[in-house]
């Protein structure tokens, strides 16, 4: 989730309108950017990941100008050739194959322009750029270097340069170890033998993407002309990021110039011409249940900054439009979600219940009738609770990457969870009679997901004095309610007291156990009162 902060007067200047409280709190969020807060002349909005073009105040204001009807004409960005070339060396193919760039001339970099440029760059890196892995942007003072440029991959020790914020030269591998950005992002390159750099004609390093720029091309208030590079591992994403950055600068009135990128074939970028997409009026009206005319649709599209002649014209910064449906959504937002009349539901279908869930409901009813309290514990647990403390072994479904150390497997049974509940409730009134009906996950090679979910029931009763009988009568009340003819057969489990333990047997097979919990187990769980219990795999008794 990206939250961006704008200076309200900066927005007002870019939009060309004073923004009222109502504008900020009600109208702007209806474009699809929830308000986070307004504070000290600044406003924060959440920007959805499909709209990185809204991450800069320039791009944000552009959208509001259209949305509020201040801009009424589709923007066509003009570019002219800079004559500058960038050559892509095949050595980058494995590590970071794509690069595109642009030149921006006659810039006036005030504090707020630099601030917004930095914010845009950083937010694109974090979200759209997948923390620089997919896309990284470099912004340089063009006048400090000598075109043309080359993008190539070199060994980590082959080249050294002064990275941004430093005074002395470092090799690429030194930067990876010592520079703050190097430490943070070097993992992106670590598995490659050669790392990418951009150099000028004098072999001066502009950039070591996606890690850090050179100090040489550092942008200051005095910078007049910019060179922008975007590198990455997905060509479309690289192009989209470049378009967002340069159109954002174009909104400030700066001049955009193209660069020839030679990568097998020649490409002239940025290409800021609008994309075209067909839209069927009847498709729009059917999906929205509206009767918009072509003209109305054209007006609504305009509110979203889209053009319309015979096709929809999509500006180069809109990276989210992949399908006609995306345009339909823009039309709906332009019309205003609040202006759609909800329709009374009318699709006639017949409900149907999962039989098993109905049965589980009845089991729950009987147990509640017996005065037991239902609890619901977590499916995620750990091996210590699920098996070791109970004196059993198990092969549970194991998680790979849990951030919580004691939640790294799926439980295979419920009893340890319920004993845990008793430990948590030693200060509460007794007797404590609790049960859980819950899902457990077992490994199962024959299933598509290699696991199977099992619904189990566990009952646990404790008081200062309690015995086997108390569990046996609950079990009998439950099973005989459903006319289940079961038997109890003396058995042995490491967590139950010998000679006070039985298997619950149905049709010759065990469906669970019943007994008194062994005091050595109670000690491990820090419990001082006797506990009786039973557990059943409900899948065995659910009516088929």
């Amino acid at each position: 989730m990206a939250v961006v902060e704008f200076r309200i007067n900066d927005l007002e200047e870019l939009i060309g309108k004073k923004l009222s409280r109502n504008d900020l709190e009600e109208r702007i969020p209806m474009l699809g950017c929830p308000l986070e807060k307004i504070e000290n002349g600044r406003v924060c909005y959440e920007i959805f990941p499909n709209r990185p073009d809204l991450l800069s105040p320039e791009g944000f204001s552009r959208a509001i100008r259209f949305f509020f009807g201040i801009s009424k004409e589709f923007t066509r960005y003009k570019t002219k050739p800079s004559g500058i070339k960038l050559y892509v060396d095949p050595s980058v193919k494995n590590v970071r194959p794509y690069v595109l760039c642009a030149v921006v001339r006659n810039v006036e970099l005030t504090d707020s322009v630099i601030e917004s440029l930095m914010q845009l760059q950083e937010k694109i890196h974090e979200t759209f750029g997948r923390k620089r892995k997919k896309v990284a942007i470099g912004i340089h003072d063009l006048d400090k270097v000598k075109p043309d440029f080359v993008y190539k991959a070199v060994g980590p020790e082959d080249i050294s340069f002064v990275p941004l914020g430093y005074k002395k030269q470092m090799t690429l591998s030194e930067i990876g170890k010592k520079h703050e950005k190097g430490i943070k992002y070097i993992h992106i390159l670590e598995n490659f033998e050669k790392w990418p750099i951009i150099m000028d004609k004098n072999n001066d390093v502009l950039s070591f993407p996606p890690i850090i720029n050179g100090e040489l091309t550092k942008v200051t208030e005095k910078t007049k002309n910019l060179f922008i590079d975007v590198t990455g591992i997905n060509e479309r994403a690289v192009e989209q990021a470049l378009n967002i950055v340069v159109t954002s600068l174009a909104e400030r009135g700066f001049d955009i110039e193209t660069v020839e990128v030679h990568n097998n074939k020649k490409r002239v970028v940025p290409d800021l011409s609008p994309k075209r997409m067909k839209i069927r009026i009847e498709y729009v009206n059917k999906l929205l249940d509206t009767d918009f005319t072509k003209n109305e649709i054209s007006e609504l599209l305009c509110k979203m900054g889209l053009g319309f002649d015979r096709d929809v014209l999509i500006p180069p910064y809109r990276v989210d439009i992949m399908h006609e449906i995306d345009i339909v959504e823009d039309i709906a937002i332009a019309f205003g979600y609040q202006n759609f009349e909800p329709k009374v539901p009318k699709i006639p279908t017949i409900s149907s219940r999962i039989l098993k869930n109905e049965f589980l409901g009845k089991v729950r009813e009987v147990l509640i009738g017996l005065g037991l309290q239902e609890v619901s514990t977590m499916i995620l647990t750990n091996k210590d609770d699920n098996s070791r403390k109970m004196g059993v072994e198990g092969e549970p479904c194991e998680l790979l990457n849990s951030v919580t150390v004691d939640r790294n497997i799926c439980r295979t049974w419920l009893l340890p969870c319920l004993i845990g509940v008793l430990t948590q409730n030693k200060h509460r009134d007794y007797p404590q009679k609790i049960f859980e009906i819950g899902k457990c996950v077992l490994l199962d090679k024959n299933k598509e997901t290699k696991t199977t979910d099992v619904d189990k029931l566990s009952v646990v009763i404790t008081d200062s004095e309690i015995s086997y009988e108390s569990a046996a009568e609950v079990l009998d009340a439950l099973l005989s309610s459903f006319e289940i003819k079961y038997k109890l057969k003396k058995s042995k489990y490491p967590f139950l007291i010998e000679n006070r333990t039985a298997d619950i047997v149905l049709n010759g097979g065990s469906i669970g156990f019943i007994g008194e919990i062994h005091p050595k187990i109670l000690e491990r769980w820090d419990i001082e009162k006797p506990v009786v219990c039973f557990e059943i795999n409900l899948d065995y008794i659910v009516p088929k």
Binding site: K343, T349, R364, Q373, L380, V403, T449
Partner: protein
Amino acid sequence: MYKITKEGKRYLKEGFPETKLMSILRRPMKISELRNKVENFNIALAWAKKRGWVDVKSNVVIPVKKSVTEKLEEQIALKNLSEGKKVEEKMISLLLKRKLIEKKRRPLQVKREVSKLTQDLIKTGLWKRVKLKPYNVEIIGKRVYPGKKHVITYYIEKIRNIFFDMGFKEVEGPLVESSFWNFDALYQPQDHPARELADTFYIKKPSVCDLPEKRIVNAVKIAHENGGNTGSTGWRYEWSVDVAKRPVLRTHTTAVSARALTSLEPPAKIFCIGKVFRNETIDYKHLCELTQVEGIVVDENVSFRDLLGYLKEFYMRMGFEKIRFRPAYFPYTEMSVEPEVYFKDKKEWIELGGAGIFRPEVTRPLGIDCPVLAWGLGLERIVMLRTGINDIREFYYKNDLKFLRGVNPWL
């Protein structure tokens, strides 16, 4: 009240002594002579004299009245008393004086006081002889705990019933899910941030899932790569089958909806309620497993306005009268909507769940050519807003019996 004495009984049987005296005394007779012939002579003579029937002069009794034929008033009264009839007070005191009757003696015992009415007391009739101690009936009863369902169960039941009332079919799916169903089938590109280790639980054991039939896998692959027949440009990258096979703990029940889409015939309405998982550190705002609710409507003729209509109806049945809709973003829906409901007691609009129409890149590879309306919401959030719980760990993690026993089942 009165009982007749032994003497009274003899008088009743044999007559009064003064009457007997008169029947013998036909002439003046010496006292000494009479004494032998009349029982209770002294009493007989005293009463005969009192009544003026005889005179006594120098030891000789002289009859004044010739004979006594009528019954004495006392005799009648005594008879009546013996038969339980009413008798004048004057006669009673006369009979008492003559010791022919006496007051019945009441048993002199005090009734026993007991606190409990027992089966024994009722059966033996002893309850008649005991006094039941008065209770202080204004004392509030001691707190005992009824068996209750878990608070989440109450809400699941309520929401299940709302879906059934609206004609939805219940479906479910596995907790461990392939990345294919959890992400790829929902058109989430393989480098999507939601798929990162920081958000999603990946699974070490089992380490690989099977994929569904080739036809579906290929259609999804092509939708990602270039849009295929969906009318989309696709994401433009090389889709990896190995990434799709990686098992995860499902991050949303939309994975279940995706599976369901492959086997349903429109028109169809289905819903799913189940656990979902997020790789998050547990604190008062975050829990790594939560319960999600999701409903979908599949029909040739449904539109965005139908989606809003279903949302309005659903949330109204959940008890929210006012609802409004905001634009939102989900990778697999377009339009995407965030419903906000009005909380009367808080006097504010609160975002509750997400909704949208599945993208064609989602539905067409799964064999559905018509719009699919979908919405979902997290159950814990709604329970927290409704009950005022402000620590999400009350669910599943803390299991505080005081809280669970105190839950109000009337939602």
